[in-house]
Every structure is written in C-alpha cells, then in structure tokens.
C-alpha cells in the first residue's frame, strides 16, 4: 500500500504546488492588475492555506458521503446513533481506500478544483476588472484617486458577486426541496 500510494501523493502534491507557485508568480509580476505587494513565498503560503481549507471542506464531504447510498433513499447521512452498525448491503468486490478515491475523483475532486479556481478568478476581479476604470496600484503606481476609483469599482463588483452567490444557493436549496421532497418515514 505504501508503495502504491506514495506515487500518486507525490504526483498530486507536485501539481498543486506547481500551480500555486504559478499563480503566486503571476501575482508578483509588474502587470496592471497584479503587482501584489507580498513576496512570492508569502502569497504561496496564503493560497496554500486557502486551498487546504477548501479541499478539507468540499472534497471531504464526498469522501465521507459516498458510503451513504446503501442505507436511505436520497443519501441523507447515516445517523450518528447507528454509526458502527454492521453494513448489510454494500458493493461487492475488492474495496479499499483507492476505491473511495476513485469515486471522489469523479465528482469531489473536479468540484473542489473548480471551487479554488473560481475563488482565484473572482478575487482578481477587484484589481483586474476594476483596473478598466483606472490604474490599480501595487508596487508600480502611487495611490492616486484614479486607482481608488478602480479598486472601489472592483470591490463593488465583488460584493455583487457575493449577493449573486447567495441567490444561486437559495435557488439550489429550493431545487433540492422540490426535487427530493420531504423525508419519507
């Protein structure tokens, strides 16, 4: 097991590190909208902590959730009071942690990646899209009123996105309620 797992762990670790360093390097370049005042290792640490939080909060759900189809319709989670019960119905065949990862890789992994990508993408909107309305500061330009307008517009855009996200989430909740309906006794 150790020999089989070390390779994928190292490979995935390399991909994550490489892309985070790439994003951080881009952010330090003296380009309009980037030019972040933090040095590269600091940015990489900040993004690394963020992606750790995201991976733990979205990837984990599927990892823990995939065992739940066997007990109840619509999943819904195995109640805590029957944790430890012997599972009577389960998939047949060789099953180990690699299978759980395989299952996660089809949905949990891509979704987690999308989540981090969306955060990186939208967090740049304050400087990049806001930069259309004036030069944004960083290490190259002084804090003039021009850049303040740009950042104010960019921050407003972020707030609009946040409100949109709240609405989308509410629509999703209504969809799930209508589609799955109340819990059957």
């Amino acid at each position: 097991m150790v020999k089989e797992h070390l390779g994928p762990i190292a490979g995935h670790g390399f991909i994550v590190t490489f892309t985070i360093i790439g994003v951080s390097y881009l952010m330090t370049l003296p380009i309009q909208g980037f030019a972040h005042p933090f040095p590269l290792p600091m940015l990489a640490v900040l993004w690394g902590i963020t992606i750790g939080a995201i991976g733990s909060s979205t990837g984990d759900i599927h990892y823990g959730g995939e065992r739940e189809y066997q007990q109840y319709p619509f999943g819904g989670g195995i109640p805590v009071r029957i944790h430890g019960d012997i599972t009577r119905k389960a998939e047949l065949g060789a099953r180990n942690s690699l299978d759980a990862v395989n299952f996660c890789a089809k949905y949990g992994g891509p979704v987690t990646g999308f989540c981090f990508g969306a955060i990186v993408f939208f967090s740049f909107w304050s400087t990049v899209v806001g930069g259309i309305f004036g030069s944004v500061t960083g290490t190259i330009l002084p804090g003039n009123s021009d850049s303040n307008t740009a950042l104010a517009v960019g921050t407003t855009i972020l707030f609009i996105i946040i409100i949109l996200i709240i609405i989308i989430n509410n629509r999703m909740e209504v969809f799930a309620r209508n589609k799955y309906g109340p819990y059957l006794k």
């Binding site: 040095p39 590269l40 290792p41 640490v45 900040l46 690394g48 047949l92 065949g93 060789a94």
Partner: protein
C-alpha cells in the same frame, strides 16, 4: 491518565524541555561564530525546539481539545512568531550592544503571550484541561526557538536588520510559520491513538524537524554560504530518523503482512451464482 500523557509509554517530560531550551538557545547564540558551522548549529537548535514542541503538543492534545491537534499548533506558532520578532526588535531599539538580548527576549515574550492566552482559555472560556497552561507556555517557547533558529540559519545572524533583509523581505517568515507548524503538530497528529508510544512519536518529530531543516537549507541558497551544509545534514538526519521511526512502527505493529488480492476465481463464482439466481 497521568499528567505526563499516557503512563508507561511516555518519556520524561523534562528531557525534551532541557533539549529544547538549552540546545535551541545554544544553537542560536553560536550562530555568529563561523559562516558555515554557525548557521548549521542554529538550524540544529531549531530542530531541538521542534522536538520539544512536539512533545508538549502531544501532552496537551492527549486530553482532547475539541478542535483537533493542529489548531493549538497554529495558534502557538502565530503568537510565538510575532513574539520572537518583537524580541529581536526590542534588541534593535536598545542599541547594538544589546543585540544578544534579542533571542532570549523573543522566547520570553512568546511564553508570556502563551501564558496569557492559556489563562484566558482556562478562565474566560472555561476549558477543563489542567495542563493547558504549562503546555501552551512550553509550546510557545519551542515555537519561538524553532522560528528564531531557522531565521538565524538563513540570515547568519540573530540581529533584526539581517533577519529583515534575508528572511522577512523575501517572505520566508510566512513559510516558517506553516513549515514549523507542520513539523510540530504532525508527529502527534499522525501517531495519536490508544497505542501511542511517545518515543516513537518523538522519532517522527525528529524526522519532520530534520526535513524542515533540509528545506531551510535549500531556501537559504541566495543568502547563506552554508546552505548546502544545512541541507545535507538535514537530509541525513531525516533519513536516519525516518528509518528508525519506520523500524519502531514495524516493531510495535501486531503483524504486517501483504495478503495479496483474492483469487481470480471468485469473480467467476460470482458470475455463476448470478446466473443460477437468474435462472431460478
């Protein structure tokens, strides 16, 4: 549960403490003696600090903090890092003849903040962990020593101007925050459980500390002529300690045996059974 963790399987709590304080501070204070040996000693001092911290976190986290092992590691690294740099800064403020006071003051400031935060946890938040105070103070001191040691190893000095130039401005200080947190909290987080053996946990602590030292050596490349010494000694130390950790794990495991995949025939049997059920 004894005060020292888990009875017969724990080590004497004074040994890591002495190792951390004495070894760590000696390593940091010997930094300026030689441009090659000095940084190496500072990095080894940081290793001593990490081992001390890993033991302290193992003792406090055996009680169950409610939020997992890493949280207290993050917290103590956070205020220790600020405390350690503040100590160095005060030394600058006092003048060049008082540079020597910096590391000790940094460790003491970190410990004071640790005591205050632990006191708040016990009084305001009403946490019921009797050794929280002592262990948070130890953890703060260990974290401060580890940050100071690695910083001094890169800068080649424990004076604030050098550390500002070669550790803070390149952003390595944020890296040390997360690197030392991982090195301190990982050993117990990985080894905890009913069969936790403190000696084995500390072997893992040595290996995480040495690998952190090896990384420090590599990132010291632009600033220190001793980078390859630190990296190589760290890598050798890591190899020795991880080997001894794996050996200890094998010795204590009940049985490690690869059973192989099950025979191929089972699948055919299953197909036969399905056919029989369908026919019936």
């Amino acid at each position: 549960m004894s005060e020292n963790g888990r009875g017969p399987n724990s080590v004497d709590k004074r040994k890591p403490l002495v190792l951390g304080i004495v070894g760590g501070l000696i390593g940091i204070y010997l930094t300026p003696i030689n441009p090659i040996i000095g940084p190496l000693l500072a990095a080894l001092g940081a290793v001593c600090g990490i081992v001390w911290g890993a033991d302290a976190i193992a003792r406090v986290a055996s009680y169950g903090l409610g939020t997992g092992v890493p949280s207290i590691g993050y917290m103590s690294l956070a205020f220790s890092l600020v405390g350690a740099l503040s100590g160095l800064s005060v030394a600058v403020y006092l003048g060049t003849s008082y540079t020597w006071i910096g590391p000790v003051l940094g460790v003491v400031l970190a410990m004071i903040v640790g005591a205050i935060v632990a006191g708040l946890g016990l009084t305001v938040l009403k946490m019921k962990i009797p050794i929280l105070m002592r262990c948070t103070i130890e953890l703060a001191g260990a974290a401060a020593i580890s940050v100071l040691g690695f910083s001094a190893a890169i800068a080649g000095s424990y004076a604030m101007p050098n550390i500002l130039h070669s550790v803070i401005i390149p952003g390595y200080i944020a890296l040390f925050f997360i690197l030392n947190t991982m090195a301190i909290q990982h050993p117990f987080n990985a080894c905890l459980g009913p069969n936790e053996n403190r000696t084995r946990t500390l072997k893992l602590a040595f290996s995480t500390a040495f690998i952190a030292m090896a990384i420090t050596g590599v990132i010291a490349m632009p600033f220190s002529s001793a980078w390859y010494v630190i990296a190589i000694v760290g890598a050798i130390g890591w190899f020795v300690s991880i080997t001894s950790f794996i050996q200890a794990s094998k010795d204590e495991a009940a049985l490690v045996k690869w059973t192989g995949w099950w025979p191929h025939e089972e699948g055919e049997d299953f197909d036969k059974e399905v056919k029989e059920i369908k026919e019936a």
